[in-house]
């Protein structure tokens, strides 16, 4: 029997009725991609793979995990000790959460630097921010599941934030808890949602990619492709480049999993949750530290009407929400910071500001740095965070004189080699 013919016959039969193979070929193989993407463009596909790793390891953990306050901690220890390769699954999952955030943060910073949020990619950007919010909710609830001291107290602190809402705050908190404190009903629903949200993420990511494929990737020059000579087919060029990136990622990620699996965790989470004993320092996972710093920066009432706690909560959520507005705050038509001499510096300043916020978030606000109170540093860094979006970005986008843009993607790259445009067009014909 001729297997090859049979398979291709079946594929054609299906494709005629449901053009899924045409679709995949179109979107994953031929998909025309700018020829000049740098390695910063690897982080999107890495984020997708990180999600797949999280879902695969998560489902296997869920088969052994018990979402009950009396058994959750023990069931995780059983996974670590008695389940075949359970320690590996659990370390892949707990470190995977951290690496997912590292990858996504780099992916977002890439977007900020190269202006990927600008027309016509506003919806793509907004969907990205939705993904970030869903990820944060998922990771927060996942961290509660092992039911250690930090799990319990982080859950208590974060859910309590909603009590800052005027009038109905307390009622919201009771509703979230399913009782009068973080307890078994809370753990149960967090588990249910922690299992659910990653699949919602998959859906949103699908739409994110749909929006991406409408106009294709932005690129380090931030200019639109002028013709086929500016693009190359996704396969094999970017499939191999992404594979290389994936291999590097795995070396680093697995390096942590196998040789420093608890480096990014907090020791207190190896103490079973105890509602009667509050840890001296309650700190969230490292990827939430900047928001935590913003939350704690507000120790004063705003204009006598917004109490300090509510102010902190509003700013903390606002620090993400403001990303939704970015496409309209930045008026500059030029995307890439390469051609934006002023914006470029403020981008790095903003990045530094985020690191400072993270550092402040890790420390108790009562401390000080060479005599400067951490609280004050946190307040200034918070002010700058919002100032960056609300003042700096709109202002420079109006004042800045961008450098001249290259006329096409292949023009700057062609100058050196002196080849003709015809030669440059070859790759796209290869597909």
């Amino acid at each position: 029997m001729n297997w090859k013919a049979m398979i291709s016959g079946t594929v054609e039969w299906i494709d005629y009725r449901l053009p899924i193979f045409t679709f995949m070929n179109h979107e994953l193989t031929e998909y025309p991609t700018p020829r000049n993407l740098s390695y910063w463009w690897n982080f999107g596909s890495l984020a997708g793979i990180a999600l797949v790793i999280m879902i695969a390891t998560g489902i296997m953990l869920a088969m052994q995990y018990t979402p009950h306050v009396d058994h959750a901690f023990d069931s995780v220890e059983r996974i670590m000790r008695d389940v075949n390769s359970g320690w590996l699954l659990r370390y892949l999952h707990s470190n995977g959460g951290s690496f997912f955030f590292i990858v996504v943060y780099i992916h977002i910073l890439r977007g900020l630097y190269y202006g990927s949020y600008k027309k016509p990619r506003e919806i793509l950007w907004i969907l990205g921010v939705v993904i970030l919010i869903l990820m944060m909710a998922t990771a927060f609830m996942g961290y509660v599941l092992p039911w250690g001291q930090m799990s319990f107290w982080a859950a208590t602190v974060i859910t309590n934030l909603f009590s800052a809402v005027p009038i109905i705050g307390e009622a919201i908190v009771t509703w979230l808890w399913g009782g009068f404190s973080v307890d078994n009903p809370t753990l149960n629903r967090f588990f249910a949602l922690h299992y659910l949200l990653p699949f919602v993420l998959v859906g949103v990511i699908f739409v994110h990619l749909w929006a991406l494929h409408r106009f294709g990737s932005n690129n380090p020059l931030g200019i639109d492709a002028k013709g086929p000579q500016d693009k190359i087919p996704f396969h094999p060029y970017y499939t191999i480049k992404d594979s290389f990136g994936l291999a590097v990622f795995l070396v680093v990620y697995l390096g942590f999993v196998f040789f420093a699996p608890n480096y990014m965790g907090h020791p207190d989470n190896y103490i079973p949750a105890n509602p009667l004993s509050t840890p001296p320092h309650i700190v969230p996972e490292w990827y939430f530290l900047p928001y935590y710093a913003i939350l704690r920066a507000i120790d004063f009432n705003f204009l006598w009407i917004v109490p300090a706690k509510l102010g902190g909560v509003i700013l903390m959520f606002g620090s993400i929400m403001i990303l939704f507005l970015l496409p309209w705050l930045d008026r500059s038509p030029v995307r890439s910071a390469r051609f934006r001499p002023i914006y470029k510096w403020f981008f790095w300043l903003f990045f530094l500001d985020c690191l400072i916020l993270g550092w402040i978030g890790a420390n108790s606000p009562d401390g000080n740095f060479h005599g400067i109170p951490f609280l004050l540093i946190g307040q200034l860094a918070t002010l700058y965070y919002f100032g960056h979006f609300l003042v700096v970005i709109p202002a420079i986008s109006l004042l800045e004189r961008p450098k001249p843009l290259p006329t096409s993607i292949s023009q700057p790259v062609l100058q050196g080699g002196g080849a003709t445009a015809g030669a440059g067009a070859k790759p796209m014909e290869k597909a």
């Binding site: 000049n36 993407l37 290389f244 697995l254 390096g255 001296p280 530290l289 080699g417």
Partner: protein, 269 residues
């Protein structure tokens, strides 16, 4: 133009990686800052290749059983797990049989006591936290199974704690029933100094100095906290080598596949 863009991208990469490292070091130092500086010890399980020292784990078990077990449980360790310490089955059965396990109910509905067996877990010394607190000045001696992962510093901390009992400074007032300890947060601990020279007589003839026993029991508790450490590291070496190889292969393929593009225009990727 081309080289400029290239160097810009390069320096951006450098900054970002530097900042990321900075962030991680930052959290690490913030963590260390939470207590007194711990003296760093050399451990056989340090580093990428470091594994446990079986003789040391056996000595540590002896210290635990003869001293710590009076107050501290080890609830995640079953006697069968002691096979990891290279005891043979008869030895483990002998160790287990010395433990008294409450079992039941029997056919009359009564709980009864029996000798420990391989699948049993180390029994806790107190019936419940209230009983534990009542016999220890109101403080509950925590279970030690995960202690080495539940404190900053791990084994270093346990060793420091056990050797850190000293005279309180003149201006420091120690409350009734508590002891001064240089490394315990707040310096007042409800555990009286549990170890002193020759608190045990080692089966293997090693001299039982305070430092030696503290070291051995800290190593033992590192094993109880992370019994899969050796499996993890030995597998890790191969996994990392494999993916380094994959990195090399994909890099070479990438170079080759992109070569025709670069030939066209001499561009960077």
């Amino acid at each position: 133009m081309k080289t400029l863009a290239k160097s810009a991208a390069r320096s951006a990469t450098k900054y970002a990686l530097g900042a990321l490292c900075g962030l991680m070091l930052g959290t690490a130092s913030a963590q260390a800052a939470e207590g007194v500086k711990l003296p760093e010890q050399d451990w056989s399980f340090d580093g990428v290749l470091g594994l446990f020292d079986r003789a040391q784990l056996q000595r540590g078990l002896q210290v635990y059983r003869e001293v710590c077990a009076g107050c501290h449980g080890l609830r995640y360790i079953a006697f069968r797990n002691l096979a990891d310490l290279q005891y043979n089955e008869d030895q483990i059965k002998a160790i287990a049989s010395e433990a008294i396990i409450v079992d039941g109910p029997d056919d009359e509905g009564e709980m009864f006591e029996r000798e420990g067996r391989l699948p049993d877990y180390f029994p806790s010394p107190f019936a419940n936290d209230k009983a534990a607190a009542a016999s220890n000045n109101g403080a509950v001696p925590p279970d030690l199974s995960l202690m080495a992962k539940a404190r900053f510093g791990g084994a270093d901390y346990i060793h420091a704690l056990l050797t850190g009992y000293e005279e309180a400074p003149a201006d420091f007032e120690v409350l009734e029933g508590l002891s001064y300890n240089a490394y315990f947060p707040g310096h007042q601990i409800a555990m009286a100094q549990p170890l002193d020279d020759d608190a045990v007589e080692y089966a293997d003839g090693t001299e039982a100095s305070l430092d030696q026993m503290a070291r051995d029991v800290a190593a033992f508790l590192t094993w109880t906290a992370e019994p899969k450490l050796e499996a993890r590291k030995t597998a890790g070496i191969w996994v990392i080598l494999f993916f380094l190889f994959v990195t090399g292969v994909t890099y070479a393929s990438k170079k080759k596949i992109w070569a025709d593009l670069h030939k066209d225009d001499g561009s960077k990727e």
